[in-house]
């Protein structure tokens, strides 16, 4: 326990911290503000007037819905792939010893270390050599390459904390492989998978670079936004969509935060 005195930060540090946080978050408020502006061609400050008409406009535009649906579908399926493959890979690397284990670990992590543009170009040339037409599934495949990494990293850290004898104890008490996974492994890695899955979903949801190389004519939400900014018409619609995305993603992140916090408490109590 620290003493009360050393807990108190100097005034200058408090100002600096507040300024840092403001610098990060005020631009987001600006996005929110422009969602209500009456000026549709340029972002002038302060807005000449406020209106809620862009919400109705955004709601009735089919291209918004198409992009949003595509992004949600891609992110969900890429995350689902990542959860299954990332968990299996983490289990193999952390619970067993085999030839080339370290190499596999490195190769799995590599896609997130590589610049997205390289992954994108590589996938695009591979797809064209294999004559795979660009489609929904090529986007999913591109996203899965880096989604797996996040799930894997989260899961492997948690797997290392599960003592091998827990799994043996479960088997010893009569549980087969599936029961052991269901009753012992999953409860112990659940919060790690949730956190990894959330992060994977978020990464896929705002991915631009790999998507531009692996998508055909389809636009995911971030690519739609990028295109929209170039067009000097109904610009605040982009801001409305951005605002909705922030609010919709904020809720699950908050939920995941509370869930993993509880998980840490349980893990901490047994130490």
């Amino acid at each position: 326990m620290r003493s009360e005195k050393s807990n108190r930060a100097p005034f200058g540090l408090k100002i600096a911290a507040a300024a840092g946080l403001a610098f990060m978050h005020l631009p987001i408020l600006l996005i929110f503000l422009y969602a209500f502006t009456t000026e549709e061609k340029s972002y002038q400050f302060p807005p000449p007037g406020l209106t809620t008409q862009w919400f109705a406009v955004a709601w009735s535009r089919p291209d918004v819905w198409a992009a949003l649906t595509l992004s949600v579908k891609v992110a969900s399926i890429a995350t689902a792939f990542a959860l299954v493959l990332g968990t299996l890979c983490a289990a193999a690397v952390s619970q067993t010893r085999f030839f080339g284990r370290e190499t596999i670990s490195l190769l799995v992590i590599l896609p997130i270390a590589l610049p997205g543009i390289i992954t994108g170009i590589a996938l695009r040339s591979a797809f064209s050599i294999a004559e795979i037409p660009f489609s929904f599934w090529t986007i999913v495949l591109g996203h899965a390459t880096f989604c797996i990494v996040v799930v894997y990293n989260n899961a492997v850290a948690r797997f290392r904390r599960i003592s091998g004898s827990l799994i043996e104890a479960s088997m010893d008490l009569g549980a087969d492989g599936f029961q052991t996974f269901r009753y012992v492994i999953l409860p112990n890695i659940g919060t790690a998978l949730l956190a990894g899955g959330m992060l994977a979903f978020a990464l896929s949801f705002d991915e631009v670079i790999v998507t531009t190389f692996t998508a055909g004519q389809q636009s995911t939400l971030p690519i739609w936004m990028l295109e929209e900014l170039i067009r000097p018409r109904q610009r605040p619609v982009t801001n409305v969509v951005a605002m909705v995305v922030v609010i919709v993603t904020f809720l699950p992140i908050l939920g995941a935060y509370y869930l993993t916090r509880d998980g840490d408490q349980i893990a901490g109590a047994s130490k």
Partner: protein, 334 residues
């Protein structure tokens, strides 16, 4: 008497390492059997072969007459108390104990009752609602015991279960385990590196070294008549007499063992053997004095456990040691 566990020429090799090498063993039903040996001697691998976590690379294992090779751990009628207890941290104590019944599909109410009975048996009634993290080491050990016994195993395997406990608690648990085993009548196979524990608890024990059984017998047999030099060293602290010293005493053997408490500092009487030498050192051990005597053959030293009440002779003083001929046991060189 039914044979609970049978090892027929069982080996478990890991590449060039022979963790278990041609082990033959028969454990009777209801027996409290200890596997004693230093770390890396193969005793834990033998236990894991029984539990099903390892498969033998040679030989044959039977558990109550049924072939054990190829049978996965979850289809064996044995349960294990793990060295680190391996309690499930995400489950309550009651859920931990009821786990085996839960995966077998036994109803909620029935398994709750069985788990509570098992907790009462290990003297932890009412602890069901707690988490493993909230219990002390000794309590966790009891939970691990209850969790294994609630499944009514035919053989209970215990892997150094008392290793993590402090001395006082260990002695208490030794007695409790022993009486629990007698009242339940279940075959216990107990792995330990503590020779005192093995001698005081087991009906019979096997002494392991380098993957092989060095000696198999009752605690009295193993303690009094060690078959090899390793057993003499490891179990208790026997004097090991060299061939030359044996010859001087009229015994033709490569080695012989002599228990410190079998030797008296006194002139020999009616046919007893004797050696003379000078006192090299002595130390006070409470009930006895440990007196080390230099006997002047091959630089050999004989330790004597002499009752403390007799006092200890001064260092350098000449003494005569005497012991009965039947206390000198010839041994194989191994």
């Amino acid at each position: 008497m039914t044979t609970a566990v049978l090892f027929d020429n069982v080996s478990r090799h890991f590449g060039a390492i022979r963790a278990v090498d041609r082990v033959n063993l028969a454990i009777a039903e209801g027996e409290f059997f200890a596997m004693l040996g230093p770390s890396g001697s193969g005793k834990t691998t033998c236990l894991r072969l029984l539990a099903g976590f390892e498969q033998p690379t040679g030989g044959h294992i039977e558990i109550f007459g049924e072939t054990a090779e190829g049978v996965p751990p979850y289809r064996r009628s044995v349960n294990t108390v793990f060295q680190d207890y391996a309690l499930f941290p995400h489950l309550s104590i009651l859920e931990n104990v009821a786990y085996g019944l839960m995966v077998k599909g036994i109803g909620r109410e029935e398994r709750r009752k069985a788990a509570e009975d098992a907790l009462a048996m290990v003297k932890l009634p009412g602890y069901g609602g707690r988490r493993p993290g909230q219990l002390s080491g000794g309590q966790r050990q009891r939970v691990a015991l209850a969790r294994a016994l609630v499944n009514k195993p035919k053989v209970l395997l215990l892997d150094e279960p008392l290793g993590a406990l402090d001395l006082k608690l260990r002695e208490q648990m030794q007695e409790e385990l022993k009486s629990l085993q007698k009242s339940l009548g279940i075959t216990f196979v107990f792995v330990t590196h503590d020779q005192g524990e093995a001698l005081s608890m087991a009906d019979r024990l096997a002494v392991f070294n380098d993957g092989r059984i060095q000696q198999l017998g009752t605690p009295e047999e193993v303690y009094n008549r060690p078959r090899t030099r390793f057993v003499a060293d490891f179990v208790g602290s026997s004097n090991v007499l060299s061939a030359k010293l044996c010859q001087a005493l009229g015994l033709n053997a490569a080695f012989a063992s002599l228990r410190p408490e079998a030797v008296a500092i006194a002139p020999p009487m009616n046919g007893a053997l004797s050696l003379s030498g000078t006192v090299a050192s002595h130390s006070f051990l409470g009930a006895t004095n440990r007196i080390v005597v230099d006997v002047g053959v091959d630089g050999a030293r004989i330790a004597v456990a002499s009752p403390a009440a007799r006092g200890a002779p001064a260092i350098g003083s000449p003494v005569t040691l005497s012991f009965a001929a039947h206390d000198l046991h010839p041994m194989e060189d191994a």
